[in-house]
Structure formats: structure tokens, C-alpha cells
Amino acid sequence: MNVMLFGVAKDIAGVARMQLPEGIATVGALKAWLLAAYPAFEQLNSLMIAVNKAYAADTQAVTTTDEIAIIPPVSGG
């Protein structure tokens, strides 16, 4: 499963894209894996996941064909 990283999430992971291990089936599981792999994510005020270009709830299923993005706190404007 391939994910895109933006903003400070990209800085923390050091990459703009990463390949996740197999077996991650939901947004919640994906967040748990990220926090375990990169404890610095705990410092963020929020950590959202976008699935197919929309904010996704923790219960949402994810598959390898989805477009997945890590969304740290936004700061536009």
C-alpha cells in the first residue's frame, strides 16, 4: 500500500511517498502503524488520513488501489 505524505508529516518521515507493510485494512490501523513507526507523529495536533482525496474516519477500509495521503494539521491561508 502506497501513501503520500505532506507538510510536517513528510518532514518527520523524510519521504514524500512510502510503501506500507501488508495487512493494514483500515484507516485506524494505518494511523496506529504510523504512530508506532514514527513516534514524532504523536506531537502533532491532529493526524488525518485522506482516502481517495477525502478525509476518512478510522473505521474506513483501505485497499492497495486507494489513493491514500497523510494529512498533518493544515496551515493554508
Binding site: 477525502a54 493554508g76 491561508g77
Partner: protein, 133 residues
């Protein structure tokens, strides 16, 4: 409601004004966010804006849809810049036109507040003292 959404390297207030112009609309409210030369007293050299562009445009469309549901707004333009931006340069423009001015203020403020809360765009601040945050 007519909608103009744009996320590009260069945006101008004028293109937003041109888009919302209409002889049927008496009131236009335009918010412009510019890069400030300081943040909490620290001098800033530039900002760098990054967008998850496809999703950001979809979130901007959701804001436009919310505006259309809540108020009788005739036209709305939402523009956001990306890339390096120097102090004084335009980072974001939200412009609305309507028949009555009160709702134009309400809708414009709602749109910029929501844009800043939900649209996946990020800024990096390059401080004059060398720090990047």
C-alpha cells in the same frame, strides 16, 4: 452560484474581482491573505506553500457547496497560491458577490475560516534568523 477555484503559483486579486463582477450584484466582499513580514515578532524572509492539489480543490468545492446552501450568494472565487511567497505577496483570495452586503460578509468569512481549517495546504515559514518551521 458560479464558482472559480484555483491553486497555482501566481494568483491575483484582480482575477477574483473580474470573476465575481456582475451588474446584478450590489455587494462584493473580498478577503486577501498576504504573507506577513513577521510572525509573533520574528522577522520572516518568505513562506513556502505546498498543496495536495486534487484534494484541496475538492475541499474548496465543498466549501462553495456549503456557502450555496446557507446564503444567496451569486458568485464565489477561492484562489490559493503555492510555492515560494515573499512578504506582501498574495497567499489566498476569497471573493463573493451577492445582492445584499450582510450575507456577503458572512459567506466570505465562513469560506476563509473553513478553508484555513480543512483545505490540505501547508506553509513553511523561513525566518530571517535561519529557522524553518
Amino acid at each position: 452560484m458560479d464558482v472559480l477555484l484555483k491553486i497555482e503559483t501566481d494568483i491575483t486579486i484582480q482575477e477574483a474581482l473580474d470573476f465575481i463582477h456582475s451588474p446584478a450584484c450590489g455587494g462584493e466582499v473580498v478577503f486577501t491573505g498576504k504573507v506577513r513580514n513577521d510572525t509573533k515578532g520574528r522577522s520572516v524572509d518568505k513562506l513556502y506553500y505546498e498543496a495536495y492539489k486534487d484534494m484541496a480543490l475538492l475541499e474548496m468545492q465543498k466549501i462553495a457547496d456549503d456557502v450555496a446552501r446557507q446564503w444567496d450568494i451569486k458568485k464565489i472565487a477561492m484562489l490559493h497560491a503555492v510555492g515560494d511567497k515573499l512578504p506582501g505577496e498574495v497567499a489566498v483570495v476569497v471573493a463573493v458577490s451577492s445582492v445584499h452586503r450582510g450575507i456577503a460578509f458572512d459567506a466570505c468569512e465562513y469560506a476563509i475560516d473553513t478553508l484555513k481549517a480543512t483545505v490540505p495546504i501547508w506553509k513553511k515559514e523561513f525566518f530571517s534568523d535561519g529557522e524553518v518551521k
